[in-house]
Symmetry: C2
């Protein structure tokens, strides 16, 4: 009854995006802006298999012509498991600040020379800005497109997070510039 993060997301997608194929789930994961979800076959199909074994979902053959295909649907047990997973008591990890590989790397920047540090920070600035712009666009589209509150909130959260990263880098660059100016 304890779902992995991927299992839960797959189950959740089957639940909210209606009965669908495993492939459809894969595509959603692949296209998600966050790089966390690879949506690789080697991850998704075994996860679906486990969900089937656990009776969290049911599969019905739905072949269009000769092409084999399975439509996956949520079971009542699956809904129960999902609600469990959503229970904050069960997933305390949802409370702690997520780790950020970029932030992690800052810790070790002192190992680089001054010019290497500058290079790193300039690159990070450019990339985080780019990312923020991409997400801002997505947020705008969802807002204008009248997506449901939750989807908009997710986009908003992602945007704020992207802005946090830009802030972090630009503040560091400014700080170092002012230090250099003084010296």
């Amino acid at each position: 009854m304890k779902l992995s993060e991927l299992e839960a997301v797959v189950l959740g997608l089957i639940a909210v995006d209606g009965p669908c194929t495993a492939y459809a789930v894969r595509l959603v994961l692949k296209k998600s802006l966050s790089g966390t979800w690879s949506g690789s076959a080697g991850a998704v199909y075994p996860a679906v298999e486990r969900l089937l074994i656990g009776k969290y979902i049911t599969a019905t053959a739905a072949s269009t012509g000769l092409r084999r295909s399975k439509k996956l649907a949520l079971s009542s047990l699956g809904l129960k498991a999902l609600k469990q997973w959503l229970n904050p008591h069960v997933s305390p990890l949802a409370a702690t600040v997520p780790s950020d590989p970029l932030r992690t790397r800052l810790r070790f920047l002192s190992l680089l020379t001054k010019s290497e540090q500058k290079e790193f920070l300039d690159d990070a600035m450019a990339k985080t800005r780019l990312e923020r712009d991409k997400i801002e666009l997505d947020f705008q589209q969802r807002t204008d497109g009248g997506d449901n509150d939750f989807a908009v909130a997710m986009a908003y959260g992602a945007l704020k997070m992207a802005e946090a990263r830009v802030d972090m880098i630009s503040r560091l660059i400014d700080l170092r510039n002012s230090r250099d100016a003084k010296a």
Copy 2:
């Protein structure tokens, strides 16, 4: 020459915190505010072993009395590997917005009843606020304590990220409250 995220962090800690024991590294990971790093023996010791095999670090026996202990030190090869790891070209993942288990869960909130949703959001609000306060304190301490720029920047980034999460939740709550008021 391709380091896992954990291997790189272990290597980096050995590099910046001077020669130290594997246990010392474990403690740093355990105490880190972000829940990503468990610092479990089963992860750290094998990682150290791999770094030793790869000649990224060297070990010298440093037993105090009868207690066995190994001091780990960075090698020049290790420094090279770390610089590689810091190279943005090598770690593009550092550019994408990090995934957030809380944000992930928002996507599936529509499966809950209205009151369950409220419960979830209120709990999330309380917890993210608490987390933000904790991190704010840490940031203050580092600023006042004259920590180096990078450590302060990391704390700042973590704070901004915590604030982003609070924003995300509070905005969603407000939005739903105003919807309810209208209805």
